[in-house]
């Protein structure tokens, strides 16, 4: 199929259809509105269902219902809407229901603003709602990768019976880049014998996250934890010029694109810089990060937050390499020139190797 120019949001939506998604429940919020807009038109064409719910809370519970019935289902929102959905998300994690949730991040906290941000990192990878649970979190950096990860997201959701989050940002959602779709695969999708499909000729299935017996609930938590441990093999990352790098930039999504340009500019000035880009944020590619930073004297995270990813980088490097932060917030986007200045400052100060 030939390449077409598409907005990230529209490309995500089309990719969902091609991944077999037939149900969308959501509530509008900038900067992700092109997703529901596109699906409102497209889903009925393929026999699917689109509902603009009365609220985010209603929407996520519709997702719960459809997922429980075995459907491929998704919702999308941005920061404030994702916060509203947290209750439903933890219920789905508890009840082990597969679904895909898209967060096209905007500036926070509170209502914040509508310009791009990456300040929902903690919310996405650490839980967000209550209880011990994890989402699989995938962070694309190009419109093409949004498409590629969307199909993967639905497969992972079904395989692990767990919600999967696609963590984008306002730039990725709004920007247009050429994309190519693979033909819709009529793969044999996983059977869902646990789904509530009418109980004809079998015992009823129960979908629930309530365990009043503490011993039972502990057992359930252990079962979930084993599943999260198993997810460890799903790590995804990209290395760019890391082999001989003395300074490693780390970023995901849009920030990684900026950092990549900085790597090229720094190299042109004789600075051995490289980029490590986590694509899966949970599970985190810890081993790959450590490998990439083997020769690094220091690491600089580039993110659109006050410093969230940086904490995980320090933790995953086991505090063996100093990790610095360059962050812009509130909808401001790091400029390559400013990041390059920071790289040069670190290298020239001789303090790059000291803990910040």
């Amino acid at each position: 199929m030939a390449k077409v120019l598409m907005k990230g949001n529209e490309a995500l939506a089309e990719a969902a259809i091609r991944a077999g998604c037939r149900y969308f429940f959501g509530y509008p919020i900038t900067p992700q509105n092109e997703i529901p807009q596109y699906l409102a038109k497209r889903l009925p064409e393929v026999g699917g269902v689109f509902v603009q719910a009365e609220s985010e809370i209603a929407a996520i519970n519709m997702v719960y219902g459809a997922a429980g019935a075995g459907a491929r289902v998704m919702t999308s929102s941005s920061g404030p809407g994702i916060s509203l959905k947290q209750e439903g998300i933890t219920y789905m994690a508890g009840a082990e229901l597969p679904c895909v949730i898209v967060n096209i991040q905007r500036g926070g906290p509170g209502l914040g603003g509508i310009q791009p941000a990456q300040s929902d990192y903690f919310q996405a990878v650490k839980g967000g709602g209550h209880g011990d649970y994890r989402l699989l979190v995938l962070a694309p950096a190009t419109v093409q990768e949004m498409v590629d990860l969307m199909e993967k997201a639905f497969d992972l959701a079904d395989e692990y019976r767990n919600p999967v989050m696609i963590l984008g940002d306002g730039i990725l959602g709004q920007m247009m880049e050429p994309v190519e779709f693979s033909e819709e695969k009529e793969t044999l999708r996983q059977e869902k014998p646990w789904a509530t499909t009418g109980a004809k000729g079998r015992n009823p299935n129960i979908i629930n996250s309530l365990f009043l017996d503490p011993a039972e609930l502990e057992k359930h938590n252990h079962h979930l934890q084993q599943k999260y441990d198993r997810m460890g093999k799903e790590v995804l990352w990209e290395n760019y010029q890391t082999n001989d790098a003395e300074l490693i930039l780390v970023g995901y999504g849009t920030s990684a694109r900026i950092a990549k340009a900085v790597v090229d500019q720094a190299r042109a000035q004789g600075i051995k810089a490289g980029l490590f880009r986590p694509i899966s944020l949970f599970p985190f590619p810890k081993v790959a990060l450590q490998e990439a930073c083997k020769k690094a004297e220091c690491v600089l995270t580039v993110e659109m937050s006050m410093g969230q990813l940086v904490e995980d980088i320090r933790y995953n490097l086991e505090f063996k390499v100093p990790v610095h932060l360059y962050g812009r917030v509130g909808g401001m986007v790091p400029a390559t020139r400013a990041v390059l200045e920071e790289v040069k400052r670190l290298v020239n100060s001789g303090k790059a190797g000291e803990n910040p």
Partner: protein, 190 residues
């Protein structure tokens, strides 16, 4: 070759579609492209801008902070973005609506009264954006005229294809006007 362009003007002047067309024309030529709109509480009559990258290589950062070319259709856009243009970069100005001189002395400037030209020559100021796009194509050769026409065929729905000849005329008007007419700003001030 890497082209980084910022296009800006009033909402409704066709800034966004001009940028999309440019990106699509690059795609038609097999180049790497990206298009980023300003988005926000903007509306017809408000300000709008977009960033377009056309490159032979992979586009690392699609965010443009220092454009090689700035195309401005109204005065607030000139005032907002002039300072960001790369040293020695290009500035294309819609002089129908911009009655001030650029401050920078190092830019290659072309002023065209595209709003008037659209109305007077083509009888439709809605193709004003295509005149300035034609001038851009002539000056930079970032994409060819035929690729822009090819892009129009892809972007416009079938029932709008009757507008392609008018758009072609507008693009050609811009191309003709740009021929040999670009100058360093300090010479234009005389």
């Amino acid at each position: 070759m890497l082209h980084e362009i910022i296009l800006a003007g009033f909402g409704g002047q066709g800034v966004m579609s001009m940028g999309q067309l440019l990106a699509y024309a690059g795609l038609v030529e097999g180049k790497r492209v990206s298009w980023i709109p300003s988005y926000g509480p903007e509306m017809r009559g408000g300000t709008a801008n977009c960033s377009v990258t056309i490159s032979d290589e992979e586009v690392s950062s699609p965010i443009i902070t220092e454009p090689d070319t700035l195309i401005v259709l109204n005065r607030p856009s000139l005032e907002k973005f002039e300072q960001d243009v790369k040293p020695g970069g290009r500035l294309l100005i819609n002089s129908s609506l911009i009655d001030i001189e650029p401050k920078r002395q190092d830019l290659k400037v072309l002023k065209i009264p595209v709003t008037e030209l659209g109305r007077e020559i083509l009888g439709n100021n809605r193709v004003s954006n295509m005149i300035i796009l034609g001038a851009f194509v002539e000056l930079t050769r970032a994409v060819s005229l035929e690729s822009v026409i090819g892009a129009l065929k892809k972007v416009l729905p079938e029932y709008r294809h009757n507008l392609i000849p008018l758009n072609r005329k507008a693009l050609e008007t811009g191309i003709e006007l740009a021929k040999g007419r670009e100058f360093l700003h300090f010479r234009s001030c005389g």
